[in-house]
């Protein structure tokens, strides 16, 4: 059985997560070995996932932590007063 490109795209996530059954993996790998388009789809997807998961994306706003802990302090202090 030979896979068409559009079927290979359905397996890209499973391929990246290494969750494909052995025989599917073999078929996908055979296809990737000779199809430059599907290889580029795979490489670009992998690259995009690595970049998006980087800590520099979705940075906390400046001062976020200070404001959060100041607000928590108000709550903690109130709690202390009410329990006294």
């Amino acid at each position: 059985m030979v896979l068409e490109c559009k079927h290979v795209w359905d397996y890209i996530s499973g391929y990246l997560d290494n969750t494909l059954p052995a025989d599917t993996l073999r078929l996908v790998q055979e296809h990737l070995d000779h199809c430059e388009i599907c290889s580029a789809v795979l490489d670009s997807t992998r690259n995009i996932l690595i970049l998006t998961a980087d800590d520099r994306v979705f940075e906390l706003p400046l001062g976020f932590s200070d404001r959060l802990h100041a607000r928590l302090d108000e709550e903690l202090n109130n709690r202390m007063q009410t329990s006294e």
């Binding site: 559009k6 996530s13 499973g14 388009i37 789809v41 670009s44 940075e59 706003p61 404001r67």
Partner: protein, 207 residues
Amino acid sequence: MNGSESHRDESKMIAAILGGDTQLFHDLIRPYERTVYVMALSFMRNESEAEDVSQEAFLQAFRKLDCFRGESKFGTWLISITLNEARGRLRRNKILKMDSLDEPDDEDGHISPALLRDWKEIPSEALERKEMQQLLESAVSELPLIYRETFLLRDVEELSVAETAELLSISISLVKVRLHRARMMLQRSLAARLKAMNPKRRWFLWS
């Protein structure tokens, strides 16, 4: 979520906080600030609302700390509080209806990726550029909510498929389907734009 929490005994910290050492709560939550903010942002799509939701989620966590049973990880429990808080806020803002419009009806449709003949790897150093960070952030925030939340929990916060399914109250197979679609949507929206931004010059200076 980063791995630093694994070196701490969180159940001991929680017991101490419940026992009266409330200041320890500051330390308990420090490793989760970014996770909570990112999940709040994925719902609110607005920095200042996401910050409000985050603060509220941490306050709720403090107030309800005695309800934490330790059946899930503390981080997962915090995320579930954050998701509830964000959903409640969206309902109050009455924008949930608007967001549901961008959820595709057809759960079975294929998502075709952007087709390229080759891909030149973009190294993580490229993220030093603000425009690169913003491009990625906006591509994620443009995903429909059901894909955005799945993608962030799995690929950004690195939760397991089972934890993601539990937090979103969906099946494991649906997590996999949504994750795959989210990734393909991102590839489709980003591949060409990233390729155009990847300069021809080398990123590394070989010495």
